[in-house]
Amino acid sequence: MASIAATFEKLKNGEVGRGMRGFRGHVAAELQPSGVAELDAVLGGGFPRGSLVELCGPATSGRTGLAFSLLAQATSRQEACAFVDVSDSLDPVSLAAAGVDLPRLLWVRCGKTPGKRPAAESSFFDSPEEKEHTQKFLQQADGKKIQGQFWTHPRDQIRGVEKVIPSLLRVKPEGRESARIHVVKKRIEKKQTETKQEILRRHTSSRSNNLPGTEFFQTAGMRDRMAPAKPWKRLEQALKTTDLLLHGGGWGVIVVDLADISWVDARRINLSVWFRFRRELENTKTILLLLGEESCAKSCASLVLRCERREESWSRAARDAASGASTLQGFSVQGEVMRSRSQSQPSDCARWQTQTMNR
């Protein structure tokens, strides 16, 4: 009975758990001021260090501005920070205007697939003499390249096979096909083409009725852009980069910007990734800040803050009656605590004003 009572007491005090620190250890986490006094007052001092924090909200909700404010606070304390830019949308001018010390910020731009680069291209490390040598080499190289085994892992060699195999299977000698099959194939192709045209017409009518410059949409580039691009490669790069940064340690704030990624795609990230990140963050002073449309780290996040732009703030646009010109001064943002393991309670709200930078 005594042991049961002791266990019950431990459970009650939150002393059972990983590392025997329990839930209490998290409550007493060090806080990093966000740079917004109204929000810090609600959060009891700022964002908890050594934890995963989520800032979610729709477009123009002030989440990026808040993240910049946090970065400015951290860099003003001479801490090194990192910004993992999944959609390559960071504006350095806005960063500087927010007060971020740019040399202390590591900016990682995801999205480009690193391929085997020709040696003659400009390099981060290349000196003029290297370029000269490599140029000379390229001119003289006789094409004796080591295919598939110099520096490539066998796993990489099978990339693209899924594209090649169907084409190989499709290419057949025409003489073997019977005329009947050929006719049937033509019919099917015609049917498919009609269906495509129908879809295209429907698409055009629904999207661009009564619009000037409809021919603009006929370009291939626009058609590509209209097709929803899958962000898996960028997400994979971002998660791997975050993992490397967390393993390296010593960062004050690491921002993972998923704001331009659909929350449907963001939620497809395996939950174990966030658990691993949270585990790596424990007992460190690093804040991992996730920006996104919706919360995707679930219970791994120590703090989830939802930002919203308040409409009445738009009325602050000053209108100059004489010239007819006007300027956007800013908008107000409301932050609501959705989940918190610190002093603040869910549904606590703070409202603050953001300003556009002076041009």
Partner: protein, 532 residues
Amino acid sequence: MPFACLFVPDFSVQAVVRVEPQLRNKPVGIFYGTPPLTKVFAVNHAARQLGVEAGMTKVQAEAFCGIEWRWRSFSEEVTAHAALLDCMWTISPRVQDAEKQNKDDLADTVVVDLTGCEKLFGSPEKIATDLARIASNVGFDAHVAVAEIFLAAQCAAQGFPGITVIPGGQESARIGALPLESLRIPAEFLETLKRWGIQTYGEFAALPEISIVERFGQEGRRWQQIAQGKDLKPLIALDFPDQFEECMEIESPVELLEPLLFIVNRLLDQLCTRLRMHILAIGEVRVTLTLERNDSRTNLGSNSQSNSQNKAPLLHIRTIRLPVPAKEGKFLLKLLQLDLEAHPPTSPVTAISIVAIPAKTHSRQLGLFLPLSPDPERLEITLARIQSTVGEGRVGSPELLNTHRPNAFQQTRFAQPDAARNINREEKNAKAALRIYRPPLAANVELREGKPARLTCEGASRPILALAGPWRTKGDWWSETGWARDEWDVEMRVLRTKRHAGSVETNAEETALYRIYKDQFAKRWFVEGIYD
């Protein structure tokens, strides 16, 4: 004025064994010469015991089993000599190469002036022992001799194995017992002296000087003075090098990265050991890979000039500059691995040369209240790994350019600024950030009274609910890269609709603030970004 001399017997063999430690206890021989005149150039003691001798033809030599054969490498001998000098520089800066009697002599002997070193390093015996130990760390099995006379120290090191210390005044007696072969006298002189019955230094030194001049000329007199241990020239100290080099020639070209890294690892270890002797670290590494050339192209070429150009070695050079000087070879190896994975050579590698630019070791006082920052060495590896993940030129610190051109920035190498550097953050208000579309989204804007009224972009048409502008900017009009644009801040329904699982949903209520602009040169509208 005592001198210490370090002599490496079978220098050509030891230069090879130094970069191939697996050959250390094996019989090794060195071939030299173009076929069919290839001969054994040098052998080590173990090979000599098996019966192999220098001067044998290749066919004769290959009849012996169990011997590792290598070709003579001049570049490895040069780096081995540099390593030998490094050993001496740990004792004193007054280091000189030994007197070379022939131009073909190997640079296997170096002499250091020990004047004033006794108080620092102890007795001559201790200095000699230390030198032998240091040479052993670099990979040499060397002979060390200490004597009061420069040439006496040199002759003793070349003649006596192990450590030899000759007290002052006993030079003639000690050196006199050495056979004439160890003096490296030209073969014709040696033959004549042998016919006279002269076998040792002492006997040669005792011959009358005038008779030697009559029969051998001034050259003979010089050799006799050397045998007598008389100093001919003053010591001229060599300059300390500003870079350290290790190189290795590979007999069969390497095609894979992993075996190449094994060799790079060995060379880096040697470099780090040499630099550690001088309490230095590596500030910059330059790796030069000599690539295999395909001769087929040379044969096809009809122009003799192009043929001569093609004979130049194909080089693949990579340079890594370190923000923090590194002392560990493993750290550099990882950086080189990541760099070579990103920039692989396109042909098999036949030779590697690594040049290290030394820098003073980084000393840093850590404290409890220092700001949070990554470990510099780990940071470099982390950055290199991230770069290999996201691509080159996409990792670094943003830096604004000194221009009013929109989006003018560059990414610079991320290096932690000095802790003393402080910025004043006076403004406490949160700023509205702009999220940039790269590239900007082309749009079609319908104007009403000269102001945007409806925007069409990405297949979506949105009425503009509120707007602010225009903000007109223009610059670089004197050059081809000029720009001119009118910027507007607009509020409208979101362009990219929120996607739910399996469906696309348009929320009529959701609005956002965008920045759009009209390029006055192209006369086209673009959506630059979204405020957030």
